[in-house]
């Protein structure tokens, strides 16, 4: 009988821990989103056939490739801080990479994906690589894209909130429209054409 109370007590602790872990995560990312500095990051122009895989948009960023001179001695998988500055168009550019946490400025903790000495480049990996979408939207978007020519790449960027080295994706913009609106507009033009997207299919 007594043993059961002990187990119950321990279980209550576990239950609290389970809820706490989820709550702490929400708090942490919510805080970054609400109070973090907003930057705009240009993505590599979206290739319609590659971008939409099922329920998320796979993102690649221009700033994920920097010159080797940014860090000659960096190793694969090493963690570094990227310090950002705005360029004249208002997009964030990596100014330098440092190993210790900077005391000020807009910085993001990232991983070195691969230093490629032959190309004089360092490939970085930002902590956000996917923009999740609602199930039906992604395949619809893919279809909308397919009606365009393959070479018709579009400029895209994301807004990210950054705080204390952490970054959270806020929204994805394609041709200056937020993704949701872009897809809605695409759908409308499709309908106007009289084709409509009948069935998004079961991709994913």
């Amino acid at each position: 009988m007594k043993k059961r109370y002990w187990i119950f007590g321990a279980f209550i602790l576990l239950a609290i821990a389970q809820i706490a872990v989820s709550a702490i995560r929400i708090r942490k990312w919510e805080d970054v989103l609400r109070t973090g500095t907003r930057i705009r990051l240009r993505t590599v122009p979206v290739d319609p056939y590659d971008a939409f895989r099922g329920r998320y948009v796979a993102l690649n960023f221009e700033e994920e490739t920097v010159p080797l001179s940014f860090g000659q001695d960096l190793k694969r998988r090493e963690e570094v801080y990227a310090l950002f500055q705005k360029d004249e168009e208002g997009f964030a550019r990596i100014e330098k990479l440092v190993k210790d946490r900077p005391s000020e400025g807009i910085y993001l903790r990232i991983k070195v994906y691969h230093p490629i000495s032959s190309k004089n480049q360092i490939r970085l990996r930002f902590p956000f690589e996917r923009f999740y979408l609602e199930e039906e939207i992604a395949p619809a978007a893919e279809k909308a894209y397919e009606s365009q020519s393959k070479d018709d790449k579009r400029d895209a960027y994301v807004t990210v909130r950054i705080k204390n080295g952490y970054g959270v994706l806020e929204d994805l913009f394609i041709g200056d429209k937020p993704i949701a609106q872009f897809l809605r507009d695409e759908k409308k033009t499709e309908k106007k054409k009289g084709e409509g997207i009948v069935n998004p299919g079961n991709q994913g």
């Binding site: 059961r4 119950f8 279980f11 389970q18 929400i26 690589e129 999740y132 994706l169």
Partner: protein, 429 residues
Amino acid sequence: MRKKFIIWLSAELPDLVGKGILSPEAADRLRVYYGGFGKEGKRNIAASAFSILAAILIGSGIILLLAHNWYDLSREIRAVISFIPLVIAQVLAGWGIWRGKDSRGWKEGISIFLMLAMGASLSLISQSYHLYDDPNSFTLTWMLLSIPIAYLVGGGTIIPLYLIGITIWTGMTRSFGGHTTFFWLFIALTLPYIWTISRKDRYGGGAVILRTCFTISLIIGTAIIMGDALEEYWILIFSSIFAVTYLVGRIWFEDAPSRVGLQPLRGIGSAGLLVIAFYATFKGCWEGLVRQESLSITPEIILTLALLLAALFLSVLCLVRFKGSGSLLGSMPLLALIGTVLVMAFSEGALMINVVLFTAYIFILGLTNLLAGIKDRNIGLINLGLLIICILIVVRFFDSNLSFTVRGVAFIITGIGFLLTNIVLLKKK
């Protein structure tokens, strides 16, 4: 003990009835008397199985629904939703503990449901904030918050899921970067549970399944951890790991009922050893070592040596306790060590020696099994011995590294050897 007897008896009964020693009615009465394998037992197993399935389906269904990623939901509502299944599962599980609900089916079902609800909560958060770099910490957090469920709520099905989870985590950590060695700590968290279950019912289905999962997970995880560090020494590492697995099964679980896959350690260990031994009879298998530069002392090297010593120690123990049976297979790491040292010392020149060495080893292994089988009139052993020798013949027949003449002569000599043995045996009769 009783359960083991019941398992044995349940296997014997049809045979006894068939031979007319027991009447079918008497056999039925025995079945009813010993209960364990009667209708009652079946009903319990069915109840557990159905509740496990129900929990898995409902839990995964919730995860799928959340994965739809409802675009119109605000982040606040998502946050609330991420807690709902979790809290429901917690309340149910807590109520069960409080009321002292003891049914196997309930415990298994609610444990899995709670584990899946935890996963659903974490994955909805990852999705809401587009956390992709996260799968690593997501998996680990989920697993570490789930393993206590096995101990507190009492569902053993948590353990295999947890083992899969931490093995995946180790693989991801290797590619993302991080300390893979923590895997050994995480896998050790399952040991008290498996130990308790095994003590209660050594050869019960649950204990055997858990030990099998544990062994497989341990081997895969270790392979992931050591793979990077000691690529060229894999024959040594893996023959040691499989030998230890095999010998532990041979020595501490030697009283297992011989049939129905109740000997996972022995099965996995011997299968692994045989596959490695066959692979080691190819020249290409050793070529990586030729390029190897000198060894430096790393934790991985120390661990490999420890495993090697453990395997050798257990082989000796096996030799003493069981008069040699099993120690030939178990001592394969020694041969792997000799092969490795030879190649490192004489480089290219030793490759052929290793091929001959391992071919001879497998041949002797097959032959001893065959002879032991003949001696004990054990068809299983005879077949195993024949199978090993036959595979060896096929493998060598197609081995293009050896010239046709060498293969031809070796085959004929071996054939004549068998023929002579047969003649001698027949004459003795």
